[in-house]
Amino acid sequence: MTLHQTLIYLLIAHLQFQSISTSDEDTFSEELLLKPLFSEQLYAHFQFATHWNIEPKNENYQHSHLFPRAVGEIVGRYNVQELHISLTGGLWRYETWGYPVIDAAPGAEVWAWFKPSTTNVDKNWKLLANSLSGLLCASFNFVDISNTVSPDFSFRPRGVVDWSNNLNNTFLRYATLPREIVCTENLTPLKKLLPCGSKAGIASLLNSGHIHNTKYHSTGLHLRHVCSSESCDSVALELQLSVSLVYDYAILGTRNWSFKKLFGHGLNGKCPLATKSNIYVDLSSSKTLNNFELSPEPDQIITSIRGGQVSDYALFNIPSKFLNVGVKYPEDFTLTVNIPPPIHANQYLTGYGQERGGIVTEIYNNHWSSLEIVILQNIAWYVPVYLHTLTITSGGQKLEPKILKYSPGKQREKPYYIEIALKLPARSITTVSIDFDYVFLKWQEYPPDANHGFYIGSAVVSAYLPLAKNYTGLPQDSATIFGSFNASRSGYLVQIRTENMVITLPTPDFSMPYNVICLACTVVALAFGPLHNITTKRLTPKKKNEEKLMQKVKKKLVNFLKKKTKTE
């Protein structure tokens, strides 16, 4: 595939036909994919999709049925075309785990397309971020223009747009909050957006006590417009809510997992409002080496051939009775050799001290042919990078970027934005490095725990893979895992997120002013008393007592006796 084609793929949204439903009714589907990874982990992905047949133009999003009204209101008020949010704890390890269903950056990530009718995109973006902060109990209120970019290539609309001829990234906003710590308080509001809440159905498995003990947990909210019929004469609103978890067998204590071990309890029936309630267990790791025993017996085995990858899935239709899916491994266990996926990336800092440093992104192409990728870097304004130091090397050779988009940052106003289109040579490691300076901030700009450091968000490496090896992502035309079976396409989009980095900016000693205040106050207090006394009081000599000691004693005795006689 030429680069040109790639860019077209990224640029122009597909007006694909929606395969979920053609009826006028709203639909809701709940699915759970369990995939034992080739390494010592288990991947669990919850996928909830709501489809709302609504004509966006003449509806005010107030009357919803299965669709969460809170989201509808936000969409209506801020003129949002598409909205993608992820809240993630931990890092998806592409090298050992393969590809997830939905990629997400560590921390919080949000991107949105606004409708072309929007007059003030920046204002709407700020308002949207504030509303989301309330909706999901996350720090989206810290999203503003100083950490937002509008990438040219990396984030094109995922759904249908009827304005593809004037598709313009001025209506796109992308921001990350790498410092965000994701926890229970983010999960609870997400569960409330589901039609059955967490009371019934697969969502009842989302037990925060258990799911935050994982190596990776990510919640996502993805809203887009899709065609409501095959002819695509009307458009519907689609909301995907997802929860991705990666359990580690070492932490779990056993390889023989079951719902009870993973989530604390089994499943008690499905959500009655759902049209599809399925559980899939990926059997591909069982097929190769370690045969595990699945209990209970699955209802169906689906074989999916997708992009050269054949995989078997055990399908469970959720019964109305209790269900506890589990596997049992044989006693003797073989360690498998991990085969890394076609493309994965790392990011790290170079240098030491607090003068100069560098950001290095390493992209591994393990595929047998060259691959085209787009790298997006959104670097905060307090990390001033120098474009002339940007070097791209692969195997000792210098690589020229096909396209380089750069917009310099501005202190406190705008982040540094770099987007590079590259052609990676076959079986290569490509290094993209750029140098930066450490800067001083104003003293109010340091966050609490200032010595923890400042975060640089992850880079996003987007690529269209020719093969679906180790790939579980959803095709663009589907919102369900079921839709990804046998879904061979011309390319498979992955958007790899690299590690966050933490840098130590020169930090003042914040306890010093406190010490100074203490010292100054002590000095003032000590000086003030005597000075005040000296200036306001007059020293007068006291009359000297001429009495002798014996006289004194005598006097005291007399006084004492007098008192005694009085009281008697």
């Binding site: 390890r93 560590p106 580690d248 070492a250 240098g351 030491y352």
Partner: protein, 600 residues
């Protein structure tokens, strides 16, 4: 003038410094960082069984590899435990002989913390020593490292990745790994080729280097002195001590525990000896363990060295040692911010007391102030006497001295560039350059000195020495105190003189404090302590040979690790020494009829 010409400032400084060892003048250590919460949790490590098993396997495995690291076995173990495991290759082009190349291989595994996204990391490192190594074995530490990895892999509370690092070739391995991790070269370009790393884990917050020589540990010595005299944060040192106490492991600093005497003098002497022990290690600027190389990168690190024989009766097994490691790592894991509280500059007279920078700096300042006051006094006196001064000549002379120093500094580089064997050329070339430079005052006879010019040169020398001492002790207090104590008394009495005997005495003394002579004395004392049965001639030759080795090692250290001892000595102390040498040995004509008043 009485106060100004009184050179006893240095005596006061030295007395001040020495008295700091007494518990009356220093403070007991404490935890400054609340987030550490040391020893608050119940230890749960019980993988000591595995440690023993690993140890036995490892003993068998090392027999197969005489001089190389058994990396395949280590990689397999790391992978089995569930770590991301990698190897790291590095090459050293010998700084002393350009044709010599050495190869090394480090092995490391990264435990990915479940509670974070690889933004921060901790390191547990062990130097690997093959059976042929001259150093005591560290196999038990690798065994406990693996057992701890096995334990840590199933815990869910880690918020920082843990890197388990096994390094090859002692300090070279760790230096190469750190350089590769940070993508920088610290020494000379082309000397240590640090290679590349495949796996990383964010900013490293702290590192513990483990050197256990036995399965049963009688005592653990905590080592802190790093490259160029850098020290780890005092909180980390305190933490290691506190956890050792909690787990009942006998621990020491410089092989000693605090002792309590009734006699304050004895108490002071005991602490003072201990303090001198630390000062002498720190002054060399050579790390006394692999931890010392982390410090440059802002990573707080220390070495726990375990010996079989301890002063306490009982010995601790793998269980207690594992729990010590667990305690330390869980504490550091609690840290929200990197180490920034407590002290980075301190001297320890014992492991529970410290002398902070605020206490020891006045001592150095007093010593240096004596020089500066002396310089002022000289200047004032010169103004009174109206002697003839040739400013330009003095400045040129001063610059020439420093050019000689610079030549000494780049000498090994030049030799290396000429592609000849550095060690032999340097061992003959360097002394000849230095001896040659001794002749300068006699060669410059024709310059026709005046007393005033020599006095001015002396003033320059005094000011330079004073400034250098203060700057030096800001970075490496021990080196500063050491240089100050030795050179300042002599520098204060250095004076251009016509009196032959006084001149010869001065010159003799001044020769004694030439950096090379000092090095020779220090090395001789060391040699004497090690081989005191030998006869005199053998001893002198051995000491001379050791001195030669010391110079060459310091050159190699500066080229590989970026140790600046050689640079500082060659660019500041040698030129400064030459200045005074010139002052002492030059002949001059006395233009003034009035004999200048001598001060004592």
């Amino acid at each position: 003038m009485g106060l100004l010409t009184d050179p006893s400032g240095d005596q006061r400084g030295i007395i001040w410094f020495a008295s700091l060892a007494s518990p009356l003048f220093n403070a007991s250590t404490y935890f400054s960082e609340n987030a550490l919460l040391p020893g608050l949790v119940k230890s749960t490590f019980k993988e000591d069984r595995f440690a023993l098993q690993y140890f036995q396997e490892l003993q068998d495995e090392t027999q197969k590899h005489e001089s190389s690291i058994p990396y395949s076995w280590l990689l397999a173990k790391f992978r089995q435990i569930g770590l991301d495991s990698y190897t790291h290759d590095f090459t050293l082009h010998s700084p002393l002989n350009p044709n010599d190349t050495y190869y090394g291989k480090n092995v490391y595994g990264i435990l990915r913390a479940p509670r974070a996204s690889s933004t921060e990391a901790l390191v547990l490192s062990v130097p690997y020593r093959p059976p042929k190594s001259i150093y005591p074995s560290t196999l038990p530490s690798i065994a406990i490292q693996l057992a701890f990895a096995k334990f840590a892999a199933k815990e869910k509370y880690w918020a920082k990745d843990i890197i388990f690092l096994i390094t090859d070739h002692e300090q070279l391995g760790i230096q190469a790994w750190l350089e590769a991790y940070h993508g920088v070269t610290c020494g000379n370009e082309g000397t240590l080729n640090h290679g590349t790393l495949k796996g990383r884990a964010g900013a490293i917050q702290a590192a513990i280097n483990l050197e256990l020589h036995s399965v049963k540990i009688g005592q653990i010595d905590i080592k802190i002195e790093g490259l160029n005299g850098q020290l780890p944060n005092l909180d980390l040192f305190n933490l290691a001590g506190k956890i050792c106490i909690k787990e009942g492991v006998f621990h020491t600093f410089k092989g000693k525990t605090p002792k309590y005497f009734r006699d304050p003098y004895k108490e002071w002497l005991y602490s003072f000896k201990n303090m001198l022990n630390m000062v002498s290690t720190q002054a060399t600027g050579v790390p006394n363990g692999n931890h010392g190389l982390f410090l440059r990168f802002g990573i707080q690190a220390l070495t726990l060295e375990g010996f079989e024989q301890g002063k306490a009766g009982s010995r601790s097994g793998f269980l207690s040692i594992g729990r010590v490691i667990e305690g330390i790592f869980r504490s550091i894991n609690n840290l929200l911010e990197r180490f920034h509280q407590s002290f980075f500059f301190y001297i320890l007279p014992s492991h529970d007391r410290y002398i902070s920078i605020g206490l020891y700096m006045p001592a150095v300042c007093m010593i240096a102030a004596a020089l500066i006051i002396k310089a002022c006094a000289k200047w004032c006196k010169m103004q009174e006497n109206h002697t003839e001064i040739r400013y330009i000549k003095v400045v040129i002379q001063f610059i020439v001295m420093h050019c000689i120093g610079a030549t000494v500094m780049v000498f090994p580089e030049l030799v290396k560039a000429l592609n000849s064997d550095v060690s032999s050329t340097v061992s003959y070339g360097l002394p000849s350059v230095l001896v040659g430079s001794l002749l300068i005052p006699f060669l410059l006879k024709s310059v026709n000195h005046s007393e005033g010019s020599l006095n001015l040169l002396c003033i320059f020398g005094l000011l330079e020495l004073g400034t250098a001492l203060i700057c030096l002790s800001m970075n490496n207090i021990s080196l500063g105190i050491f240089c100050g104590t030795i050179s300042v008394p002599f520098a204060l009495i250095a004076e251009p003189t016509k009196n032959r005997i006084f001149k010869i005495v001065q010159a003799l003394f001044w020769c004694l404090i030439h950096p090379l002579s000092i090095l020779f004395f220090v090395v001789s004392i060391n040699t004497f302590l090690m081989f005191h049965q030998e006869n005199i001639t053998e001893f002198v030759f051995r000491a001379l040979d050791a001195t030669k080795q010391a110079v060459i090692y310091s050159i190699a250290d500066s080229m590989i690790y970026g140790n600046w001892l050689y640079t500082v000595v060659s660019t500041i102390f040698i030129p400064n020494w030459l200045c005074f040498w010139n002052v002492i040995c030059s002949d001059f004509k006395r233009h003034n009829v009035n004999v200048a008043k001598k001060n004592n």
